[in-house]
């Protein structure tokens, strides 16, 4: 360990460059992993709760609403139908706007539409039921999650592609910077290496200190990136609390393990740490092997 630290201190600029680029790459990989996990969690959440919301015209009668409810029940594809009257809708609105009295003042129960919230047995019934009720008397608008799911899928795919390209570039740059730094150090130790070879040192013996040095940089960069990620998650938790209002928990299946990604928890932090550590190992081991192989060949 002392040898590794001494060697790093002897080349402070190269060490700083390698550490910075590794830190940013791992930070980005962590952010990518977290955002994709959240999106996956949201998608799973929406997919497992298929629901149609039917908004009625403000002046529609209770008979109209009851008729639609009966029609839906008769299909035997629903699990629960909840009637939200204008008064109930106003109560809900009041809860949402409790911090903004001006908005509340401008609203009254009469202007809010009554609605039916229909929980459906399977997501594929959603379009069929929406179409069935859309031209019933009194029905103003039918909303279901198809759009939300499609948007989330599109967003997930875009985030994945953009971050993949960006991450690949950074990973490539990290490997180049680390390989160059190590090659420089190997060149400085050329004489020492030739002595070791005369004494019968194997290639793995010669490689060892360079691998240790690069892995050490990787460990430091992983730790820094994770401290930064955890700090960011903790400091933005209020924002996420508001953003995910009504969603008590987000779970996503990661590497076959179903994990709670929201609210922020230790299990998810450990998985994030493991993912960044694996990337870090891949980059540091890869570049140290490339650098030493080039010389030893």
């Amino acid at each position: 360990m002392n040898e590794v630290i001494t060697s790093l201190r002897r080349t402070p600029y190269q060490t700083f460059a390698a550490l910075s680029v590794l830190f940013f790459t791992l930070l980005l990989s962590g952010l990518l992993f977290i955002s994709l996990s959240f999106l996956r969690g949201l998608l799973d959440y929406v997919e497992t709760r298929p629901r149609v919301i039917i908004y009625f015209q403000v002046k529609s009668t209770e008979e109209n609403i009851e008729a639609v409810s009966d029609l839906l029940k008769s299909t035997n594809k629903t699990t629960k139908i909840t009637y939200i009257s204008q008064e109930k809708a106003f109560e809900i609105y009041k809860e949402f706007t409790e911090n903004d009295p001006l908005l509340l003042e401008m609203t009254s129960p009469e202007i809010l539409p009554p609605s039916l919230e229909i929980d459906v047995k399977k997501p594929e019934y959603l379009p069929e039921l929406a179409e069935l009720v859309s031209d019933q008397p009194g029905v103003d608008e039918v909303q279901y999650q198809q759009d939300i799911i499609e948007n989330l899928l599109k967003l997930t795919s875009n985030v994945r592609s953009v971050t993949f390209v960006f991450f690949s570039y950074l990973m490539f740059m990290s490997m180049i910077v680390l390989t160059t730094t190590l090659s420089f150090k190997i060149a400085l130790k050329r004489e020492e290496i030739s002595i070791l070879r005369l004494l019968g040192a194997t290639n793995s013996y010669i490689r060892k200190p360079f691998i240790y040095e690069s892995v050490f940089l990787g460990v430091v960069a992983t730790a820094l990136a994770n401290v930064f990620l955890i700090g960011t998650l903790l400091s933005t938790s209020t924002f996420f609390d508001q953003y995910f209002t009504g969603i008590p928990e987000l779970g996503a299946s990661i590497f076959g393990i179903t994990l709670t990604v929201w609210p922020f928890n230790i299990g998810f932090s450990i998985i994030t740490f493991a993912v960044t550590a694996i990337f870090s190992l891949f980059i540091t081991l890869g570049s140290s092997l490339i650098a030493t192989n080039r010389y030893l060949k």
Binding site: E191, E192, I195, L196, R197, L198, L199, G200, A201, Y205
Partner: protein, 225 residues
Amino acid sequence: MISFQNTTVKYPLGNKALDRVSFDIEENEFVYLVGPSGAGKTTILKLILNEIQPTEGSITIDDMEISSKKFKSVTKLRQNIGIVFQDFKILPEANVFENVAVSMRIKGFSSATINSEVNNALKTTGIQDKKEMFPAQLSAGEIQRVAIARAIVGNRPIILADEPTGNLDPKTTWEIMRIFKFLEKTKTIIFATHNTDIVNSMKRRVIVVQNGRIKKDMKKGGYEL
């Protein structure tokens, strides 16, 4: 046993560094390799270390044909050879103890064995009180003792010494020679030198190399060209 049979080393332009050289060196034998600069002494040592390959002929060490193109155990071969050079070839960033210990670490000895054997070697070479010091803090004679200590630890039966006293004053030269004398009969030592006094003082086997050829091979010789 080290055996050279009609060994020739040719440079790409055709001139010969060694020309049909043949000799055998027995186990634990002390041999002086003498001759003027450029005669081929260092080439012989480089061949034994497998740093270069002969263009013709063969070299065997303990029944290992090291001159063969198929020979792959270079590290294993070198792990059996201790080296002491005129330019010391010491690790500049390691202290005395580590410089000697590296010879054993390479071979995978345990820390306890390394500790005891290195301390014994430092005692033998008279630098046990300098073990924490770095090469930059030592005199040339002390550095050469470190190299000798490194050569004798870790069960290396052969020592190749290439002008080990070339950079030393006469007093230190004799101190170094006393250490080599002490090691006699326990290791095979090949000692390349131009120092007439050293060769004449010990009356050991002398192989005289000149223009890439063995000029004389004397059982108990002196320095003569």
